[in-house]
């Protein structure tokens, strides 16, 4: 029997980016808020000080800060006809665990989606006709527009201190920024990062081809910055131990650096760490949540009653928690009915690697989200009329560091070991790098999440099952983007160029991104969405899924967290300004 705790106004499941933003916004209103976090407390001063933060084996390879599959994992398969097997060791994507969530060890590449990403189905239909959309593709319009979200993007960027250069200020195109971006109401809070040699070379090459390169909007901060919560961030030192690591310099935007110092001071907030929420409890009508049940490290169960339940557990776990709690009808790919688990999507990345002549690149001098990008081939920024796909992505030189356990390029045909391998490794290390493409992943009828029939977690609950593969549309898109990238890089006259467009089948053992989207999609119709435009559950109105990428109807050609952060603020405003005054369905 679970031991019952005193009631709270709000219980927040997970204290990552979305959980900490919502906790702050609601506790600041005077509500009594408790966050329950599966993993441990983590902080800059105690957990990753410069000195031993730069440990590739511990953090980059053994994944010290990530979720341990023993605690929670999922099963995967490419096709509905296959047997899904458990991800025994995370590799393809790497979910976070602990205070800060994946927001602690992410790269910080912080984008906004394009205005046309938000009315995708309508936009494509109007421009090319409905037949342009493959039959089994289940993309849909978002229930919010770019214009509605713009102030919230702005708020998240100011919270996180994002460095960058505006390309479109209130409709006026700005030199040096991204001319394709949606309008921005203000400049980035901090100026762009410095660029290392490889990125400078890419930018030069792209410019020569007539493109407009710009610095990637970055959560690695270019100069000291104090955010609206009064929290101060330090300047990035280009240490190159960013993604998969914590930042010892207080320079990477994370809940630790940007929110928690202010949040922890609020007397009406508490976080319960090392405690995993196992279920959202419903009353006997099934229409109202009464709180959550969680289990702590000693195995003991607790019941936390609350008036409002916010599901902030990262996209995949948002979906699993709803499935395990019986909130919303599970999606059935055969009939196309049901909604929870529907429209799971991912990201279609690829790369072009080059070895240059007589160059010293010093790629270990890097940041998680520095680099120069071009956006000519993202979304619908280019005419798809004569192309046999829709969607696109950005292209750019994003060097996140050349940590040598995992980054040791050698020319084609080099043996994997022995003296020749050693010689090639020594000669190539500092002359080679990779240019990436970061493309959209649209949703399909047969890509979804449900509960696995066979495999269970340590508490005896079914694992979630992921059925996903890249479809023709995405593979053609990736080929197109990769070809464009190769064209640019050829102008640098490399000794060797290897283009690796994304090909199927999707493979869970090769890291691509942790940009898992969909499964609790937001929409205007309960038939094809789990939450309404305020991220509120259609079925249980005191449950919100504020901003996790699980609410994306499909994924755009950008990293998700800018949009995740904007939606978190959008939902916080809806709760503060509307829900609290009149609890109940907002739509």
């Amino acid at each position: 029997m679970a031991r019952k705790l005193p009631r709270k106004d709000v219980v927040v499941v997970g204290l990552g980016w979305t959980g900490s933003i919502l906790s702050y916004e609601l506790a600041k209103q005077g509500l009594d808020v408790v966050a329950i976090e599966r993993g441990p407390w983590r902080d800059t001063a105690s957990d990753f000080p410069p000195g031993y933060g730069q440990d590739e084996l511990r953090y980059g390879v053994r994944l010290d800060m990530f979720l341990r599959p023993e605690q929670e994992t999922l099963t995967v398969r490419n096709k509905m006809s296959e047997t899904a097997l458990p991800v025994r060791k995370f590799a393809g994507f790497l979910p976070g665990n602990g205070v800060g969530g994946a927001g602690l060890h992410w790269n910080g590449q912080t984008w906004r989606f394009l205005p046309s990403d938000f009315n995708l189905r309508t936009h494509i239909t109007e421009r090319y006709g409905a037949s342009k959309i493959p039959e089994d593709m289940t993309i849909q319009d978002w229930p919010v527009t770019y214009d509605e979200l713009e102030p919230y993007y702005d708020r998240f960027e100011k919270l996180a201190g994002i460095s960058g250069k505006a390309g479109n200020l209130n409709g006026k195109i700005q030199p040096g920024g991204n001319p394709f971006e949606g309008w921005r109401s203000s400049e980035y809070p901090t100026p762009p990062l410095k660029q290392n040699y490889g990125s400078a070379l890419f930018a030069e090459a792209a410019k020569k081809m007539g493109y407009a390169p710009f610095p990637r909007p970055s959560g690695n901060i270019s100069e000291g910055y104090t955010n609206p919560l009064g929290v101060t961030m330090g300047q990035c030192t280009y240490c190159g131990f960013c993604e998969r690591f914590g930042c010892g310099n207080y320079s990477k935007s994370s809940p630790q650096v940007c929110v928690l110092p202010a949040l922890m001071r609020l007397p009406n907030f508490a976080v319960q760490t090392e405690s995993e929420v196992t279920r959202i409890n419903l009353d006997n009508t099934g229409k109202k949540a009464t709180g959550v049940t969680y289990v702590d490290t000693s195995g003991e169960e607790w019941e936390q009653p609350a008036d409002l339940v916010l599901v902030c557990a990262f996209s995949l776990f948002n979906v699993r928690l709803l499935l395990l709690s019986g909130i919303g009808a599970p999606y059935d790919p055969q009939s196309g009915k049901g909604v929870v688990g529907r429209n799971y999507a991912y990201q279609t990345t690829s790369g072009v690697s080059v070895i240059l002549k007589d160059k010293v690149l010093n790629n270990f001098i890097a940041t998680g989200s520095g680099g120069m990008m071009i956006d000519e081939f993202n979304g619908d920024n280019f005419d798809h009329k004569d192309l046999d796909f829709i969607g696109g992505g950005y292209i750019g030189s994003g060097q996140t560091g050349a940590r040598p356990i995992t980054t040791r390029p050698v020319p084609k045909g080099t043996p994997r070991w022995g003296s020749q391998w050693k010689k090639a490794t020594a000669e190539t290390y500092n002359r080679a790098y990779n240019i990436g493409t970061h493309g959209s992943s649209y949703s399909y009828r047969d890509c979804y999440l449900d509960l696995d029939p066979t495999y269970k977690d340590r508490l005896g609950r079914p694992l979630m099952r992921m059925t996903f593969d890249f479809h023709d549309n995405e593979i053609k898109m990736s080929q197109f983007l990769t070809d464009k990238t190769a064209e640019i890089m050829k102008t640098l006259d490399p000794v060797e160029l290897t283009a690796s467009p994304r090909k199927g089948p999707w493979n869970s053992t090769i890291y691509q991104t942790t940009h898992n989207t969909g499964g609790t999609v937001m929409g205007n119709d309960p038939k094809d969405s789990v939450v309404n435009r305020y991220c509120q559950s259609w079925d249980v109105s005191n449950v919100f899924v504020p901003g996790g990428a699980s609410v994306f109807p499909q994924n755009a050609g950008y990293n998700p967290t800018g949009t995740v952060g904007a939606l978190a603020y959008w939902t916080a405003d809806a709760i503060k300004n509307r829900y609290l005054k009149n609890p109940g369905p907002l739509v």
Binding site: V76, C239, M264, S298, K422, K423, P505
Partner: protein, 250 residues
């Protein structure tokens, strides 16, 4: 602190924690906590890495260790570019890794049923790295004994050793009860890991791997160097443990 703070029954048993316990078994036992009122800072919440100490083998038997030292010296041979795998400590690295949480697949999902999957589903075997090494090394020893007149791996000539390794890599040497191709990949991957990981883990001795490629190691401030294009970074590498030149004066 709020008055709602409650006492949690603390437990040393940690099912949920994802902490440095992975590498430093037992150094910290995370436990459920209620935190409120301020950023907590407590002694011992962080777990600094524990340096590998020289000393007897912890996982390998003497025979296994001799074979592994010979193998890592062929995978990374000593030559005019620098020391080989043995002198760089790769065998010591492997020994300590296999004796520790990595060797036991600690933290991974190890529940049955174990079924063969597609390549995209990843390793689905029930054996953790320590067991895979034990079985793999035994199978190589048997193979060498049977094909080289009863010899052991370390007594073969370098050319013969390379031939054995190449045949295992390609799958032409059939190992008894062991998938040689996949074991070779594990062997190679973990050996190179030891050559390039921080010296604190027992390999990459004297930062041999980092010197080979010109990686500066655990330095963390390159602000002055970002825009010095096409210029070789001049400072030698430094480890988490520092480096002798910094602490010792001749």
């Amino acid at each position: 602190m709020t008055d709602r703070l409650r006492e949690v029954q603390l437990s040393r048993r940690s099912l949920l924690a994802s902490t440095a316990a992975l590498l430093v078994a037992g150094a910290t036992s995370a436990r459920a906590r209620t935190l409120s009122g301020a950023m907590p800072w407590e002694k011992g919440t962080a777990s600094p890495p524990v340096p590998v100490r020289p000393g007897p083998w912890q996982f390998f038997t003497a025979d296994e260790a001799a074979a592994v030292e010979a193998i890592v010296d062929r995978l990374i041979p000593a030559d005019d570019l620098g020391p080989g795998g043995k002198d760089a400590g790769c065998a010591v690295y492997l020994d300590r890794q296999l004796a520790g949480p990595y060797g036991r697949s600690e933290g991974l999902y190890m529940r049955p049923p174990f079924m063969n999957g597609t390549p995209g589903q990843g390793y689905q075997g029930a054996d953790a790295p320590a067991t895979r090494y034990r079985k793999g090394l035994a199978a190589i020893a048997d193979y060498v004994k049977a094909n080289f007149g009863g010899k052991v791996f370390r007594d073969l000539s370098p050319a013969e050793q390379d031939k054995v390794l190449t045949d295992i890599e390609k799958g032409t040497a059939k190992l008894k009860d062991v998938n040689g191709v996949s074991f070779f990949s594990l062997l190679l991957q973990t050996t190179q890991e030891g050559f390039f990981a921080d010296p604190i883990y027992g390999g990459n001795r004297d930062m041999a791997g980092w010197k080979l490629v010109g990686f500066p190691g655990a330095r963390y401030d390159f602000r002055d160097w970002v825009e010095r294009y096409n210029e070789k970074y001049p400072l030698p590498p430094v480890s988490i443990m520092g480096r002798a030149d910094w602490t010792v004066k001749d």
